[in-house]
């Protein structure tokens, strides 16, 4: 059974229509269960939730923001199991300039500092590999990050690094469990009907 979970951060559920593997996040507090996954902002709601644009990709239509002058906040996703996952991210705001601090954690271990005080203009988004892309380019060009999780707790920590003005903003997060054996797929092939290792 595929386990692909997308989170579209915005202010109201009906602002846009989510894709089949996605649900909205309206500042939901952990634990919230929807779309087959338990998730949410830990302890308290984000500083703001906003609908921004219906003319961009639906995944970039809104945002949840953490004020960089205040305390950091964590968005938590309970994974279905430990193991291999790919992660997709859009951190930014379709309308306004922001400063992005985003880290990925496996339980309490930081495994990627995605953005540390990265300036984004309105309509720019940082992807999971830390590259800033326009709203027009992000849907086709954004890159995923692979991670073998040792725990079942994926945390996105916002506003805990160098940014001191504006907000650290999430627009979209997608987590996909790798299919069993997928990690070996690219390394194996058939040659004259014999299995070979590349």
């Amino acid at each position: 059974m595929a386990w692909d979970k997308g989170f579209n951060f915005r202010a109201t559920a009906d602002y846009v229509t989510d894709g089949p593997d996605e649900t909205y996040v309206l500042g939901d507090i952990y634990p919230t269960t929807r779309n087959g996954v338990t998730f949410g902002w830990v302890t308290s709601a984000p500083d703001e939730t906003r609908n921004r644009s219906t003319t961009v990709d639906v995944r970039l239509a809104g945002q949840n923001a953490i004020d960089n002058t205040g305390a950091s906040q964590n968005f938590r996703v309970d994974l279905t199991a430990t193991g291999d996952y790919t992660i997709r991210l859009a951190a930014g705001d379709a309308s306004f300039a922001q400063k992005i601090d985003v880290e990925f954690l496996d339980d309490t271990t930081v495994f990627s500092t995605v953005a540390d005080n990265v300036a984004t203009a309105g309509g720019q988004f940082v992807d999971a590999t830390g590259v800033t892309r326009t709203s027009a380019a992000w849907p086709a060009d954004n890159q995923t990050l692979a991670r073998t999780f040792a725990s079942t707790l994926f945390v996105v920590r916002c506003a805990a690094l160098s940014a001191t003005v504006n907000n650290s903003v999430l627009a979209h997060l997608f987590v996909s469990q790798a299919a069993a054996g997928a990690a070996w797929g690219p390394l194996l092939g058939l040659e004259n009907n014999r299995l070979v290792v590349a």
């Binding site: 089949p20 507090i29 919230t32 269960t33 929807r34 087959g36 996954v37 338990t38 309970d78 279905t80």
Partner: protein, 133 residues
């Protein structure tokens, strides 16, 4: 009076159980809406419903853990400080667990299955009033 640990355990219990009640009812209404709009196929809806049911059971498992052994008294003291009888919490957990298990085991192969399973959740999980919606 309660200690910080006792209060926290009780507060988290209320948030988990009442939040789960809200999630189960909203999701059940969502299944029917998604079925009508065809946003998700029947197969996709069935998969999401099964995954949701598993998550419900997992969240209720948290309550089983804190309502046994030494933590049971800790939770009871916290609930007492809030004026909530532990029996009311146990009844709510039992109510939700019965429904979650039924949802997990229900057939989800057809549109009629989807509606029947969603209706069963709405019929058996009582709606509690909230301040803001």
């Amino acid at each position: 009076m309660a200690t910080l640990e006792e209060y926290t355990l009780a507060r988290d219990t209320v948030q988990n159980v009442e939040g789960l009640r809200r999630d189960m009812r909203r999701n059940a209404a969502g299944y029917k809406a998604d079925r009508l709009s065809s946003r998700l196929s029947i197969a996709q809806l069935g998969q999401v419903m099964a995954q949701d049911a598993s998550e419900y059971v997992r969240r209720l498992g948290w309550q089983d853990r804190v309502d046994t052994g030494a933590l049971r008294l800790t939770l009871a003291n916290g609930l007492a400080a809030l004026g909530i009888p532990p029996t009311e919490v146990r009844a709510a957990v039992s109510e939700l667990k019965t429904t979650a298990t039924a949802l997990r085991d229900a057939p989800k192969e057809t549109a009629a299955d989807i509606d029947a399973a969603a209706d069963a959740v709405l019929a058996t999980v009582a709606q509690h009033e909230t301040v803001w919606n």
